[in-house]
């Protein structure tokens, strides 16, 4: 066996071991990244908003996703319709990825995709 192939097999097996560990931890702290990505995957856009605006959305009955409570510091992640978000003066659109804007946000509003026609 060539050293290159031997190395690639070793690397592949190591990745599988790490993934198995990830899977076993999915209901614990490690799993929060999957749950956060899962929530973001349902969003067509993301906005950072002021705390009072996020609280107002919750008071109006908008759904807060529990994954925000699993993060430290905690985030309030709320789904709201795009038309409602358009009326929030503090709303600042941020890229939908696990980047600095989303990770630093304490109050994040996500807009759902339009239902399929």
């Amino acid at each position: 066996m060539t050293p290159a192939l031997e190395r690639r097999v070793r690397e592949q097996r190591a990745r599988v071991l790490v993934r198995s560990w990830d899977y076993r931890q999915r209901h614990h702290a490690r799993g929060v990244w999957f749950r956060l990505r899962r929530v973001l995957a349902e969003a067509s856009a993301a906005f950072v908003v002021a705390p009072e605006d996020a609280a107002a959305l919750v008071a109006e009955g908008c759904r807060a996703d529990p994954v925000g409570e699993a993060l430290e510091p905690r985030k309030l992640i709320v789904f709201a319709a795009a038309e409602r978000v358009a009326r929030i003066g503090s709303a600042r659109a941020v890229p939908l990825r696990l980047g600095r804007d989303v990770l630093e946000a304490r109050h994040l509003v996500l807009t759902p995709f339009d239902p399929a026609p």
């Binding site: 066996m1 060539t2 050293p3 290159a4 192939l5 031997e6 690639r8 097999v9 592949q12 097996r13 990745r15 599988v16 790490v18 993934r19 198995s20 990830d22 899977y23 999915r26 209901h27 799993g31 999957f34 990505r37 899962r38 973001l40 995957a41 349902e42 067509s44 939908l96 990825r97 696990l98 995709f113 339009d114 399929a116």
Partner: protein
């Protein structure tokens, strides 16, 4: 059988090849066919030469061609397994995830007949394979390229194969779909942003199948 990033291109109508700019050409060789393939390599690949460091990789003698990377397919292996099918002339790195791939249509391009895999199996292979960094992102965007051109029958086939996978692998598929949904555009690959709703729909569809979104 071609199993890598060229497949979305080949499955486009007329093999239009507008989706992915490939860096190499992956050819999947069932280990049961190894001897037959090896016997014809020198005769067929006159424009290529095996890499001394990794003889499963054949490099082109001229700059206009892609490198050919031979990988092994062993349907008897678990999708998480990997081993080397050792051989002096054509050793193969056998990826267990390729056991999800089954042979599909044979298409003709410029007088050459090319076997392509069925879309569903390759979608799941790309989503269950755990690679990191650029290679990992490219794999996920290849899966996207396949989803973009998938029809209802392909998705039903995905559902059926997904349902047969064990929970850990199903979770890996869903996890990689969430990664795919947040990827940035990459030069020479399908732009994931306009397809995020499709990816979300695929996630919901798979979650309904196992009734466990955890």
């Amino acid at each position: 059988m071609v199993v890598g990033s060229e497949v979305p291109n080949l499955l486009e109508p007329g093999a239009a090849a507008t989706l992915v700019v490939s860096q190499d050409l992956d050819v999947g060789v069932p280990v049961s066919c190894h001897a037959a393939v090896k016997g014809r390599l020198v005769e067929m690949l006159v424009a290529f030469t095996p890499s001394p460091e990794e003889p499963s990789v054949w490099t082109p003698r001229s700059p206009g061609l892609l490198e050919v990377n031979f990988v092994g397919i062993d349907p008897s292996r678990d999708p998480t397994d990997a081993y080397v099918f050792d051989d002096d002339q054509l050793p193969l790195l056998v990826f267990g995830a390729l056991s999800l791939v089954t042979a599909g249509a044979e298409i003709e391009i410029g007088g050459t007949r090319v076997r392509v895999p069925r879309r569903a199996g390759l979608i799941l292979e790309k989503l269950v394979t755990d690679r990191t960094g650029e290679k990992g992102e490219r794999d996920l965007l290849v899966a996207l390229g396949l989803l973009m051109t998938a029809g209802p029958a392909d998705l039903e086939e995905v559902d059926a194969a997904y349902s047969r996978m064990r929970p850990e692998l199903r979770h890996a598929v869903r996890s990689n779909l969430t990664v795919l949904s947040l990827l940035e555009p990459r030069l020479g690959m399908p732009d994931p942003r306009p397809w995020r709703a499709t990816v979300a729909a695929a996630l919901r569809r798979l979650e309904r199948l196992d009734g466990d979104a955890a």
